[in-house]
Point group: C2
Chain length 277, copies 2
């Protein structure tokens, strides 16, 4: 039997400044909607795309992944032209960076084995005008050594309940495994690179906000294990603003799928596992 | 005798997207005007600031330098608060990054011994939405090895007439010394770092455009010496668009002041020596 549709894995980049996040929330325009509209202009039967992740209002992405099924009867172009065709119908602040044929069983969310987020901080008394809407402006000097010491405590398998938004409290498990939490410094720019098997709602911004408060001397680096153990959002630092965060990359296959392969994993919590940022 | 004014060296950053360059040209708003207006709100007697450089419409800066003289009778704040005070009167796309007392004889333009520009290229078929107005989108793959080979030929003391805008033809000399012309690659981002004792009008953009055409195979890397020798703008590559260029840094003292210290130097051509980009 001939398959009636072809499936593509799309990698999507966007400047989140003018959108109410990836997925349509209560009000406003979501990036997802714009991509679906662009696809529907070329392939009228396309209605939904399925993404690896959600992002909040103002959060950016360079490597959001989504899959789409296109009716074979409608798909008449060379597959290599697909991303150019979609981009022709998108505003300049959203771009499909790649579109590749994928297996029929590929699922952008369920097959994701890990993600990398980057949080950018501009640490100088005056904001860099070229990083407006791209970085969090922290005016007073940060103790980067202390921040690095604190960041190490986040790596590994932990219950991240105290770092995430309260929406995560309804979830079956708030345990996640971080494989990386580094801080790169280049002049006044600090980039927190956070990689893990899954992220709770606002978890990256909770980590970035807590690290900054460590850098300001408001929280001791050695308090992080205690903060994690408390499992109470009120004990950790602030939630960093959305506009410093970028969904950098989504991993498939190559990276260990810690949480979901492990005992408490399974589809039951994957509904929320992509409600990240 | 007590000096009646205090002099400050300002380092200014701006997103050039919404300005008609640094200095007011025929129409539109210049960044300089905005800075002068902000200063005049705090110190009514300030009318003019004097800058190291000019930049064209759309060109950005992280390290534009200007000096300003402020009447001592008007200057009542702690000097350390000056940049914060000016920034309070500036739009978010212009920021004073530092303001330091300087010697009475300091001149932002005449004392500059060198400048560094950076030209950013995004080399991928789809533009990066986070680099809109920040990088030149070059869609087809570039041969970076050939570009690096070509870049080496620009380093040293040359007549750059064939790389600069025709406005430079009126100048006494079009000889300049480049101390650096490197290409950094990070993923799809190429950054051309150009450092020299002075720049002709549109010279950086001429170099960047020529290097891209070398990367596209339209110009051979080994043709650069011939292009320089011809001293004819028509033989070099295109002028790269303004929005990829950033005036990164202006040097004082530490770097050799090749051209102006040398035989053909002098104030006669310094009127144009800062009309760069």
């Amino acid at each position: 039997m001939v398959k009636r549709s072809v499936k593509f894995k799309l990698t999507i980049a966007y400047d989140g400044t003018n959108y109410s996040g990836w997925q349509l929330q209560k009000i406003g325009l979501g990036v997802q909607q714009r991509v679906e509209e662009a696809l529907a202009k070329i392939f009228p039967s396309v209605q939904r795309i399925h993404s690896s992740s959600r992002t909040d209002t103002g959060v950016h992405a360079l490597g959001m992944v989504a899959h789409v099924e296109i009716a074979r009867s409608e798909f008449k172009m060379a597959p290599s032209k697909l991303s150019l065709a979609i981009n022709a119908h998108l505003p300049a602040d959203i771009r499909v960076m790649s579109a590749v044929r994928c297996a029929e069983k590929f699922h952008a969310r369920f097959d994701a084995t890990g993600k990398q987020y980057r949080y950018v901080i501009w640490n100088h008394f005056a904001m860099n005008p070229l990083l407006q809407n791209r970085a969090w402006h922290v005016g007073l000097p940060l103790d980067v050594k202390a921040m690095r010491a604190a960041a190490k405590f986040f790596v590994g398998r932990h219950d991240f309940k105290s770092l995430a938004g309260t929406r995560s409290y309804e979830m079956e498990t708030t345990v996640r495994t971080l494989t990386r939490c580094d801080i790169r410094r280049s002049g006044a720019t600090l980039t927190v690179i956070i990689e893990g098997d899954g992220f709770l709602y606002k978890m990256c911004r909770g980590i970035a906000g807590t690290l900054v408060q460590v850098g300001q001397g408001k929280i001791g680096a050695d308090e992080i294990p205690k903060i994690l153990a408390t499992k109470d959002r009120r004990v950790a630092g602030m939630t960093a603003p959305a506009h410093g965060l970028v969904l950098w990359k989504v991993f498939y296959g190559g990276k260990p799928r810690g949480r979901r392969d492990a005992a408490e994993g399974g589809k039951s919590n994957s509904t929320f596992s992509h409600a990240s940022g």
